[in-house]
């Protein structure tokens, strides 16, 4: 009988060491593995990656793009295919730019991303963005299908086109007609003085006049207060990027007035948390009578499951008051969000353009309006049948906006990247009286442009 002998101790040790090395190498190799994006796929099929196409129960824009990508994949099967990249920063925020920069540095920017103005500018400076201008030159009809104001927001200084604009929205103020009636306010105020008089009555009825959170909705009202003054629209267009806010009389008066509303008790108690949900909840729950926001709030908040019965029916949507009755205004958000691309090869770029033409076709963008409540960046004349299906609140405001004397940009469209962090850091301290108006605006400007703002 053969007797099996154990290998010598040193040999066993060598064996263990080699196994451990092999496992470690495999682990390291795994770390550098592909995420599945890129040029793989069936022979002849161009595969592109999309970091703005994923199922999302909370973001109808992302969900819409995901659904469109699935349709595109079916329609162009064998020719093009879109692979979805799960992007935890898919919704805009300070972290998303850093994420895109990391990918760009690794030369791994997805073929389709959702990007705002700051992100586009940064990635374009890095030389990582595909310029759509050639595609527009080859298909002028596609280019002409967009609103000029939407294209302005995505265009570079030398005629480059760094993104395909997603939407063009007018942003007004929602108000609760039932709470207005209960407070004895007959109609939505047309001037800021009337607005404050209405707020006094609403406050006396035990409700907050307007919902804020210290960030998005607060900045919309800041923009309204600035934009309805002479020179305000220019500041919101080009002045924000200078960081020089303290010397601008329109900005000073708007800032002080907005603060005074908080001091007077017009705002909800949690108006400084920095969480949009708090402002939305204050309005939806009937604790506040007004909130500034875009048309997407209707499907997301007023028609969502679980909202108080009758909220939608009680809600009206209006232009901003002005300093005179015929000086009302509206915030326009156009060319902010858009579809940019990190596609490198001609085949990938061609596939991206094909998808975006598909996505921005009239039929798809009518569906976009139905799905998101937002208005498309392309020029669309809705048929009567389509108009009947459109959200009446948004449609009404969109039509009213055609004749409004003051039209101005939403703050994030032209503010430098550091503005939002600086604002959310300083605004609560200013409202609580820790900073004077001069100190607040000085620091806001400085911090916006400083690396640690």
């Amino acid at each position: 009988m053969l007797r099996r002998t154990r290998p010598p101790r040193s040999a066993r040790a060598w064996c263990r060491a080699l196994c451990a090395t092999a496992i470690a190498m495999l682990a390291l190799a795994g770390c550098g593995g592909s995420d599945g994006g890129g040029d793989g796929g069936d022979k002849g099929e161009v595969v592109i990656t999309c970091a703005f196409c994923q199922p999302s129960p909370t973001d109808p824009f992302v969900q819409f793009t995901y659904d469109a990508a699935q349709e595109f994949n079916k329609k162009f099967k064998g020719r093009y295919r879109i692979e979805t990249i799960k992007n935890q920063y898919v919704s805009t925020g300070p972290e998303r730019l850093a994420y895109y920069k990391r990918l760009a540095l690794a030369d791994d920017l997805p073929d389709i991303i959702g990007a705002n103005g700051t992100e586009r500018a940064t990635l374009a400076r890095m030389g990582k963005l595909f310029d759509y201008s050639k595609a527009f030159d080859e298909d002028p009809a596609w280019r002409d299908s967009f609103h000029e104001s939407a294209l302005d927001g995505v265009s570079g200084d030398d005629g480059q086109v760094w993104g395909i604009p997603q939407q063009r929205d007018v942003i007004g103020i929602y108000y609760n007609k039932r709470l207005f009636r209960a407070a004895g306010v007959a109609e939505f105020p047309h001037t800021w003085d009337e607005f404050e008089a209405a707020c006094e009555k609403i406050k006396a009825s035990g409700k907050a006049c307007i919902a804020f959170e210290g960030d998005w909705t607060t900045l919309l009202m800041w923009a309204n207060l600035i934009g309805t003054q002479e020179g305000g629209a220019e500041f919101l267009d080009s002045g924000l990027s200078t960081g020089e806010y303290a010397g601008n009389p329109a900005v000073v008066s708007a800032t002080e007035r907005l603060k005074a509303w908080h001091e007077a008790g017009y705002a909800n108690k949690d108006a400084l948390t920095g969480r949009y949900e708090d402002a939305a909840a204050a309005y939806v729950n009937g604790d506040a009578a007004m909130v500034a926001n875009g048309p997407w709030m209707v499907p997301l908040s007023f028609k969502a499951k679980g909202v108080p019965k009758g909220l939608y029916e009680d809600t009206g949507y209006e232009l901003s008051p002005g300093f005179t009755a015929d000086g009302r205004g509206i915030v326009v958000s156009a060319g902010g969000s858009g579809y940019s691309s990190g596609a490198k090869t001609e085949e990938e770029q061609e596939a991206v353009v094909e998808f975006l033409k598909f996505l921005t076709s009239r039929d798809k963008y009518v569906a976009f309006t139905f799905a998101t409540g937002s208005y498309p960046s392309i020029k669309v004349t809705f048929t009567d049948a389509e108009a009947k299906k459109l959200e009446p609140l948004a449609l009404g405001l969109s039509r009213a906006a055609d004749t409004v004397p003051f039209e101005y940009k939403e703050v994030h469209l032209s503010a430098p990247g550091g503005f939002q962090l600086a604002w959310t850091n300083l605004w609560p301290a200013y409202v609580k009286g820790d900073l004077s108006t001069d100190e607040f605006l000085e620091r806001l400007g400085t911090d916006t442009l400083s690396p640690t703002g």
Binding site: R9, S10, A13, W14, R16, A17, L18, A20, T21, I23, A24, M25, A27, L28, P94, E95, L97, A98, K101, A104, L105, T122, R125, M126, G214, N268, K269, D270, L272, T273, G274, R275, D278, A282, D287, G417, G418, L421, T424, N425, L426, W427, P428, A429, V431, K432, D434, L435, R443, S450, P451, T452, G453
Partner: protein, 338 residues
């Protein structure tokens, strides 16, 4: 009581030579007790090194170290090197301009940096002077295994497994001035509610309040250490007439030195890296009242000043190293207690 203490000392004295005996090649000079042990012998005594491996094994041992070293180099040394190199440059993904120490001098002259450093220190103080003592006291109490200790241990430990981000959201709701439970609770005592996170005076304590009571890890570690203390020491102390308080004061606490030191170190390193709770709840505001060094670094990072952000990162790493060395020495972590 003195006898109890002498019993402790005696046990330590009888244990220590046994540990020394484990070292087969202790130098004669050391065995004779004629002077300080050479470095290698001291390390061996501390259990840091064993006998030299046989010659035939050395190659295999060296090879077996390769995976660990490769991982260490790839995931620690290289990133650390990049952190240091890029901290000396104006770099944000676009271009790379060498600046020398400009980033460091800029941050040292920035008031916000010092405010963030002060806040970090305050969070650390809250951790060391509230969280650690609380964890030690509760740990010692639970180690007595009084009725219900298992249930209580579970209750105390559960918060530890909840992520910081979830905590931030939960406490954000708790502190909310419109519908938060905290204002409702103090309202029962006719105390007016506050906007806890938006006021400069209350925001920092409110954030510290989210983590100083998470003592599950501390409790479990202390319980494990208490369980390892020989019962004879307590018996001896009891025979000497020591009260329960005296037994804990003179027996338990001195023998917990190692674990308390470890807890202090872990708590300090946690506070030094505190980010998620602060960023989610206040983003460092109002007016930097809650900003930490990591939030300060993140702002620079989010604003594209990656070189500057990395300079802050180097400062954080340096403070961490100092803490590790200082606390290890202060508490003599790693040295035998018994």
């Amino acid at each position: 009581m003195e006898r109890a203490l002498s019993a402790t000392t005696a046990t330590r004295e009888t244990t220590a030579p046994a540990a020394l005996d484990l070292a087969p090649a202790a130098p004669a000079r050391a065995r004779r007790g004629t002077g300080r042990l050479p470095r290698r012998a001291r390390m061996r005594d501390a259990g840091a090194a064993g006998p030299r491996p046989p010659k035939g094994m050395r190659g295999a041992i060296a090879l077996s170290l390769v995976p660990g070293v490769a991982l260490f180099v790839t995931f620690f040394l290289v990133p650390l090197g990049m952190l240091v190199v890029t901290s000396l440059a104006d770099w944000g993904g676009i271009g790379f301009e060498y600046l020398g120490l400009d980033n460091y001098s800029a941050l040292l002259s920035d008031d916000t940096f010092w405010k963030a450093a002060k806040n970090t220190l305050l969070y650390c103080a809250a951790g060391v002077f509230i969280q650690v003592p609380l964890g030690v006291i509760v740990g010692i109490m639970l180690a007595q295994r009084r009725p219900g200790w298992r249930l209580f241990r579970t209750i105390v430990f559960i918060p530890y497994v909840i992520s910081g981000a979830a905590y931030a959201l939960i406490f954000g709701l708790l502190y909310n001035p419109r519908y938060g439970l905290l204002n409702d609770a103090i309202g029962l005592f006719s105390v007016e509610g506050r906007d806890w996170l938006s006021s400069s005076s209350t925001a920092l304590p409110a954030i510290a309040g989210t983590f100083v009571f998470i003592i599950g890890f501390h409790v479990v570690l202390v319980m494990a250490e208490v369980a390892a203390i020989p019962r004879e020491l307590y018996e001896a102390a009891r025979l000497d007439g020591a009260t329960e308080w005296q037994r804990h004061r003179y027996v338990t606490l001195p023998l917990l030195r190692n674990v308390i030191g470890t807890l202090v170190l872990i708590t300090l390193l946690f506070c030094l890296a505190l980010f998620d709770v602060v960023f989610i709840m206040t983003k460092g505001g109002p007016a930097d009242a809650t900003a930490t060094l990591t939030v300060y670094a993140f702002r620079a990072y989010a604003n594209g000043a990656w070189g500057y952000a990395n300079a802050v990162g180097v400062v954080i790493v340096a403070i961490g190293l100092l803490l590790i060395v200082g606390i290890r020495r202060l508490f003599r972590i790693g040295e035998r207690t018994l």
